[in-house]
């Protein structure tokens, strides 16, 4: 059933032991993602040099979906161009709104495909992506509701 797909083991593993869950002191870009409706807060950190994301991390208190999504996203971002990062955010959102998207491109992000069936949780999954874009745009905080 779709609930089991939402909370599949691979997603829960990212929640239990998230990758890149730390405050990056050397970050060149950072922004807070704030889901005003539920209180989820994620700070996303990027280390960017010459339009390439050397590494990404996050820190915060959020639900399993938001945490897993941030873990997956920060892994995916490492070594990518900022252009790819923006394209990744778009592809991820397309997936959640049942629009065509490049499955191969977003890699492990497809683990969260089942979120599309839970409209009230889409903001949880996209929170880190919105924060990442805000960081690239030089915005300190982004609020989703």
């Amino acid at each position: 059933m779709v609930l089991d797909q939402l909370y599949q083991q691979a997603v829960l593993a990212h929640n239990r032991e998230p990758k890149n869950a730390f405050v990056m002191k050397s970050a060149t870009h950072s922004a807070l993602g704030n889901n005003a409706l539920c209180g989820d807060e994620l700070q996303v950190y990027l280390d960017v040099l010459d339009e390439e994301i050397k590494s990404a991390s996050f820190n915060g208190d959020a639900c399993a979906i938001a945490t897993a999504s941030a873990s997956i996203m920060t892994e995916w971002l490492g070594g990518r161009s900022t252009e790819d990062a923006r394209a990744g955010a778009e592809a991820f959102e397309n997936m959640l709104f049942d629009r065509p998207f490049d499955r191969d491109f977003i890699g492990e992000g497809v683990l969260l495909e089942a979120v599309a069936a839970f409209p009230s949780r889409i903001k949880s999954a996209t929170l880190c992506w919105h924060a990442m874009i805000a960081a690239l745009d030089g915005v300190d905080e982004i609020t989703t509701e």
Binding site: M1, L3, L6, Y7, L12, N15, R16, L37, C38, G39, D40, E41, D61, A62, C63, A64, I65, T67, F118, S120, R121, S124
Partner: protein, 417 residues
């Protein structure tokens, strides 16, 4: 569990099956499971008598109120004014002139903030609320403070979720021009000692507004016994229609206040030079009101009185004790809000899980709870959490439903950990 086995619990002569039969929605299924509705603090379900009152108005009597000489208009006016009388009786007001129909509790607070408090405060004055207030009893006062230079001061709440009465007593002085406090906390369930607080405030001639949104569905409310100056009622929290509510205000205070909204109904005469105001309560009911909603609210008040608020209180207290005990059996669960006097609300967090994930998972077991900050962000911050899962009770809930909740939460914990 078959539907028929779910609701046989009878406590102290209370026939919850008969109560439930008043609420058509309770027979529906969610994700193939019987609905277990534990979100009454967000919005109660409606009994047939309320739904019928609304339908009956639209199908048999629909017209504007206080406007026409024709039969329908007179019937609509009579139904509307009868609903006002039902609400007067329900909260123990002395006169129907003190009962103003509103869109809900929020409008009542804003009306008092702008029409009563704003003209009376300035620099150096204080408006006092508690740390546990709902955003609707915080933000309207912040607006007045911004407009006037008055200061918003906060009565502390202890770690059980009780108002610190000693600190409150020390904070009272001549500069406090308004006290606004919730009767029952939506986030914690605490029942605040509002009558006592009113007595303490009266020693300094401080007017008091009570947010009664979470009280009227669960407790006997008598505004004269509480001796408050204003009392705000939300219709949809007390089994009435959304967009309905009542503001009670002392007649002498309402008389002295300027209108809140201008428009039709609230005037006596209008010229381009000057208008004069209608009598109470019309002075505060500008425009065509939510007539069907008000009539439905009157039906809800009669419905609750027919069942008896003492009976409801006794039954729900038993259910709250049972639910609290059962939830505390869950490994790592912590109840947020453990006041000695509580009503209807079980707010909790579970180590290693997030409320939203719990809420999503148990929805698939048919269980509806609220997750998040419950529009009370400051008090949750005090408890060190950004959100909780909240199961809240109504007269129709059963011990068996609590068991379904607990089993579903346990299953969710297994899934998430």
């Amino acid at each position: 569990m078959p539907q028929s086995d779910l609701h046989n619990s009878a406590v102290g002569g209370w026939d919850v099956g008969a109560i439930r039969s008043n609420f058509p929605i309770l027979s529906r299924k969610v994700h193939g499971k019987p609905l277990v509705y534990l979100d009454t603090a967000a919005s109660a379900q409606r009994p047939s008598v309320v739904i019928d009152a609304v339908t009956n108005f639209y199908t048999g009597h629909n017209a504007n109120v206080h406007r026409g000489v024709h039969t329908l208009s007179q019937e609509a006016t009579e139904l509307w004014e009868n609903a006002r009388e039902s609400m007067r009786e329900f909260i123990g007001a002395a006169s129907c002139r003190e009962i103003i129909f509103t869109r809900g509790m929020t409008e009542g607070v804003n009306l008092v903030a702008q029409s009563f408090v704003r003209p009376r405060v300035g620099q150096g004055d204080k408006i006092m609320i508690t740390a546990m207030e709902h955003h609707s009893n915080i933000v309207p006062w912040q607006l007045v403070c911004e407009q006037t230079g008055a200061e918003l001061v906060i009565i502390p709440v202890n770690n059980r979720g009780e108002v610190e009465l000693e600190a409150f007593a020390e904070m009272l002085d001549e500069q406090v021009k308004m006290l606004a406090v919730m009767h029952v906390s939506n986030a914690l369930g605490s029942i605040n000692p509002v009558a006592k607080m009113c007595r303490m405030a009266k020693e300094y001639n401080i007017p008091v507004l009570i947010d009664g949104a979470q009280a009227t569905p669960h407790l006997q409310v008598d505004v004269q016994a509480i001796d408050c100056d204003f009392y705000c009622v939300s219709g949809h929290k007390m089994y009435g229609p959304t967009g309905s509510g009542v503001l009670y205000g002392r007649e002498n205070l309402l008389e002295a206040m300027p209108p809140y909204h201008g428009g039709g109904e609230m005037i006596r005469t209008v010229t381009f030079e000057k208008s004069t105001w209608n009598d109470l309560p019309s002075k505060f009911e500008a425009g065509t009101p939510n007539i069907a909603g008000g009539i439905g609210l009157g039906a809800a008040a009669q419905f609750i009185q027919g069942i008896g608020r003492e009976n409801i209180r006794t039954y729900e207290a038993d259910l709250l004790n049972y639910g609290t005990r059962r939830l505390e059996e869950i490994d790592g669960l912590r109840i947020i809000g453990t006041a000695a006097e509580k009503a209807s609300v079980m707010s909790f967090i579970i180590e290693g899980t997030h409320p939203h994930d719990i809420g999503t998972i148990i929805d698939h077991a048919g269980v509806a709870i609220r997750t998040g900050h419950h529009c009370a962000m400051p008090i949750l911050k005090q408890f060190g959490v950004v959100g909780t899962a909240r199961a809240s009770l109504g007269m129709y809930n059963t011990r068996e439903e609590i068991d379904v909740l607990v089993a579903a939460v346990e299953k969710a914990c297994v899934m998430l950990r």
